[in-house]
């Protein structure tokens, strides 16, 4: 039974790591753990956890339809695993949504604000109701042997047929409405994927995927519990799936041909290769393999086909909701934390599946629970060489340990500054260039200001005007440059250099040299700089320094210049515009023509957009 135990250990580890990421996501916001942006507001969590997750759980409605509507009784052995997979799958979708939604506590709002025109409203309502239907379909299973609740069980068994029909109705709606979601993105989704029949394509591929997901899950659990898989049933499912895949391919390529989009296939751009890869993995290769009886009757063939269809359909959903979506700038790749959350949700659902598999009659005979199999001799853990306690609890101790260790590892990995940065990337400031005419351009992006020092000095009253701007110098220095203290473009900086003062290079000061004994050691109660460095504040400086945190470079420059310019704009004749942005940040405001190119590239990169020369129409 080592297969099951090792598999569970891995699942617990992933869940532990995901738990750490989950805490971070709710504490610091979506931006702290995802690579989502205003250009790609939907990423892996929507593409995989929701859009693919719902499709992966489609086995429930397909198999119940086969067994209870078409009355193919031979498939009865796989109906319970299929219902359980669907139920847990939908729960996983909802849990995934809670991580992805910005305001998950409002998840119930669609119940009270009906929006018939919104496909997402449609999906939300159907998912809620279908999860309830699946719950009612599932409940009789654990109640099989319940003494008191047997009446509830019998009642629900009587209700089964209406529930199955309702489940199919709801599934048809939301499996296709997931495709309708993307009908609104006709100016963003690549034409190879965008088609008015997206809802129909989504529904049909969900049926194909549902069949192959049931196959995959049956093969996997049979492997884990060393049990004979129901190959004769699975190969029949494979045959049906090949039919579904064929219908899908005809519709998809027929639609492309009718819309005259087939030439896009040979256009040679990135999307055309993406399309070919997707169609080959998901539909064409499995279709060919499944139509060969030798392949669909063999364990290996079924493994290969089900894996390809499962991975491929997920690929298709992620393409539609992400990779094939064209945005104005930038690209999106999921961060490791996004991958961990997605994997963690799947791992938790798999653990729940295995738990229920061992506790209830999902198969005709219950698999032996590896933990309840009493081992008489207490044994030592093979990796840590320690005893994990009594044999009956050894497994649980091991899983808990792995969970906690992985969660701790997760928190360690997430303790970096990126999580707390609120999306601001540190941008160190460099010295302004030039002599008397300065080019002030702290982060060297050439979007700066040309500052004429002598003109400002003369206009403001000669030598006496220095202290209007210069307010603090390094010790033994007369005019320290701004960037020494205001060392980041957008972030506050530490002007004191606390640790440097304690280091040998900085004089190796003891704590009590600044924090006088008997007082609390805070910035407020410490000695002021000028008590040791007598000359750092020029006499009469207009700006007084209260604490030793230097504001960002942009705040320092704007604060210094604009405040004064606003006063001058009122005082001086015909200079009303000098407090406005373009009076200093002039387009083409660069010291030389060579830098003009830099301005252009900056404009296109960061803050402003450069248009091509006016088009003739």
């Amino acid at each position: 039974m080592n297969r099951v135990r090792n598999f569970k250990a891995v699942l617990w580890g992933i869940t532990g790591l995901a738990a750490a990421v989950a805490v971070t996501r709710f504490w610091f916001g979506l931006g702290s753990v995802t690579n989502l942006s205003d250009a790609t507001p939907w990423g892996l969590w929507i593409g995989f956890d929701v859009v693919s997750g719902v499709a992966l759980a489609a086995g429930g409605f397909v198999i119940t339809a086969v067994v209870y509507i078409l009355k193919r009784k031979e498939f009865y052995p796989i109906v319970r695993p299929a219902v359980l997979t669907a139920f847990l799958g939908y729960l996983a979708v909802i849990v995934g949504l809670i991580f992805d939604l910005g305001l998950p506590w409002n998840i119930w709002q669609p119940l009270f604000h009906w929006q018939y025109h919104s496909a997402l409203f449609e999906v939300a309502m159907c998912v809620m109701f279908y999860t309830m239907v699946l719950f009612l379909e599932f409940v009789p299973i654990p109640l099989d042997e319940a003494g008191i609740l047997i009446k509830v069980r019998n009642f629900l068994v009587k209700l089964r047929l209406p529930l199955v029909i309702l489940g199919i109705m709801l599934s048809t709606l939301h499996q296709s409405s997931l495709g309708s979601l993307f009908l609104l993105t006709n100016y963003r989704l690549h034409p190879l994927w965008y088609t008015p029949i997206l809802p129909i394509l989504f529904f049909i591929s969900a049926m194909g995927l549902g069949l192959m997901m049931v196959t995959f899950e049956s093969l996997l659990t049979s492997y884990l519990y060393r049990r004979q898989a129901e190959i004769h049933l699975l190969s029949k499912l494979g045959k049906t799936a090949s039919l579904v895949l064929a219908i899908y391919l005809i519709l998809r390529f027929g639609d492309l041909a009718l819309a005259g989009k087939l030439r896009l296939l040979v256009s040679g751009d990135w999307e055309s290769y993406l399309f070919m890869a997707e169609v080959l993995i998901t539909f064409i290769i499995p279709l060919v393999l499944l139509s060969l009886p030798a392949m669909r009757n063999s364990l290996k063939g079924l493994w290969a086909c089900s894996l390809m269809v499962v991975i491929g359909t997920v690929f298709n959903r992620v393409n539609v909701s992400g990779f094939a979506m064209q945005s104005t700038v930038g690209y999106y790749l999921p961060s490791w934390t996004e991958v961990v959350i997605s994997a963690g949700v799947v791992a938790a659902a798999a653990l729940a599946f295995l738990f229920i598999l061992e506790k209830c009659t999902i198969w005709e005979c219950r698999p032996i629970d590896p933990e309840s199999a009493l081992e008489i001799i207490p044994h030592f853990d093979r990796f840590s060489d320690t005893s994990l306690g009594e044999p009956t609890v050894a497994g649980k101790v091991k899983f808990s340990l792995i969970f906690i260790i992985m969660a701790a590892a997760g928190f360690t990995l997430l303790s970096g500054s990126k999580v707390r940065s609120e999306g601001v990337v540190p941008s160190p400031v460099e010295r302004a260039r030039g002599g008397d005419t300065l080019f002030i351009d702290g982060n060297r992006n050439y979007y700066g200001v040309i500052f004429n020092h002598s003109k400002h000095k003369i206009d403001n009253g000669g030598d006496s005007s220095c202290v209007l701007c210069h307010h603090m110098n390094l010790p033994f220095d007369k005019n320290s440059p701004c960037y020494i203290c205001h060392s980041d473009m957008y972030l506050q900086a530490d002007a004191l250099k606390h640790d440097w003062h304690a280091s040998p290079a900085g004089g190796k000061l003891a704590c009590v040299d600044c924090h006088l004994s008997g007082r609390e050691r805070t910035a407020l109660t410490a000695k002021k700089c000028q008590e040791c460095h007598k000359d750092i504040f020029p006499p009469g400086a207009a700006i007084t320094v209260a604490e030793y945190q230097a504001v960002s470079y942009t705040d320092a420059m704007h604060g210094l210049c604009i405040d004064c310019h606003k006063v001058k704009a009122v005082e001086m004749e015909g200079k009303a515009n000098i407090c406005r942005c373009p009076s200093c940040h002039k387009p083409g405001n660069t010291p030389s023509a060579a830098l003009a190119e830099g301005v252009k590239s900056f404009h296109s990169k960061l803050n402003w957009v450069v248009l091509p020369a006016p088009g003739k129409q």
Partner: protein, 256 residues
């Protein structure tokens, strides 16, 4: 009256007074560049921005307040909706944070508070509280050159066409926002191409919600149709199985 804004690109001097006025009127602090922002200067705190061109044109970007907004059609709870006054506004108390509005906007306008534990969708709301007081939006009020003006949509359209007629050769003969994707309440006239304001594709006249309308209309029919089909199939297989059973029983008796 249907509130609208007309921006004349040829009159804009890029002074960014509208941006500052917008910040003051809507209590938004100065924003700094963040990892998830786009290059157009809009962000959760910048609801309007000025794009500049190398040949000295300035183009103001803001929400277009479409007549048939894709964002409002997308919203599963109606948190974003078009008011009778013409503004597309946001109700943060029922928003789920699904960000489908950001996905569906053809102009890429709505922005998100990615750094907040309680994030909201942010975009220009045409100063809706001011409209209700009978005042004009802060941006048009602040504009020193009259490059961006406020008024009734029909009158502004007339004004725009008048300017196109009276200044032959000055403008591109087109009013942006008049008809494409159903029309919008924010109109532009310009002497440069304004496709930069969207995803750089030429828009059709068909409004975006109309793409999803056939699918959404067929929802109840598909729902009930599927129910009827399944019930029918159930009855059919029931009957078929019974006939087969009787047949088998008959054969069995015949064999005896």
């Amino acid at each position: 009256m249907s509130a609208a804004i007309l921006t004349d690109v040829t009159k804009c001097i890029g002074c960014a007074e509208c941006v500052n006025a917008c910040k003051t009127a809507n209590n938004q602090a100065i924003d700094i560049p963040r990892r998830w922002q786009q290059s157009d200067g809009l962000s959760a705190k910048n609801w309007t921005s000025i794009l500049s061109t190398e040949d000295g044109h300035f183009i103001r970007k803001q929400c277009r307040h479409c007549l048939e907004p894709a964002c409002a059609a997308a919203c599963p709870v109606g948190a974003l909706h078009k008011t009778p006054e013409g503004a597309v506004i946001y109700n943060s108390s029922i928003c789920l944070g699904c960000r489908y509005c950001i996905m569906s906007c053809p102009y890429g306008i709505p922005r998100y508070d990615w750094q907040q534990p309680v994030p909201y969708v942010r975009k220009c709301i045409l100063c809706y509280p001011r409209l209700q007081e009978g005042r004009q939006p802060a941006c048009t009020e602040a504009c020193p050159t009259g490059a961006t003006i406020f008024g009734d949509r029909d009158e502004l359209l007339k004004e725009a066409h008048l300017r196109l007629q009276q200044n032959p050769g000055k403008y591109i003969l087109r009013v942006w926002g008049e008809r494409e994707i159903g029309g919008s309440s924010v109109l532009y006239i310009s002497d440069v191409d304004l496709s930069i304001l969207s995803y750089n594709r030429e828009f059709e006249e068909k409004a975006i919600p109309e793409n999803a309308a056939p699918a959404m209309i067929s929802v109840p029919f598909v729902f009930l149709g599927m129910g009827a089909l399944m019930t029918g199939l159930h009855l059919f297989t029931l009957r078929k199985n019974r006939i087969e059973k009787e047949k088998r029983a008959g054969e069995g008796r015949a064999n005896e």
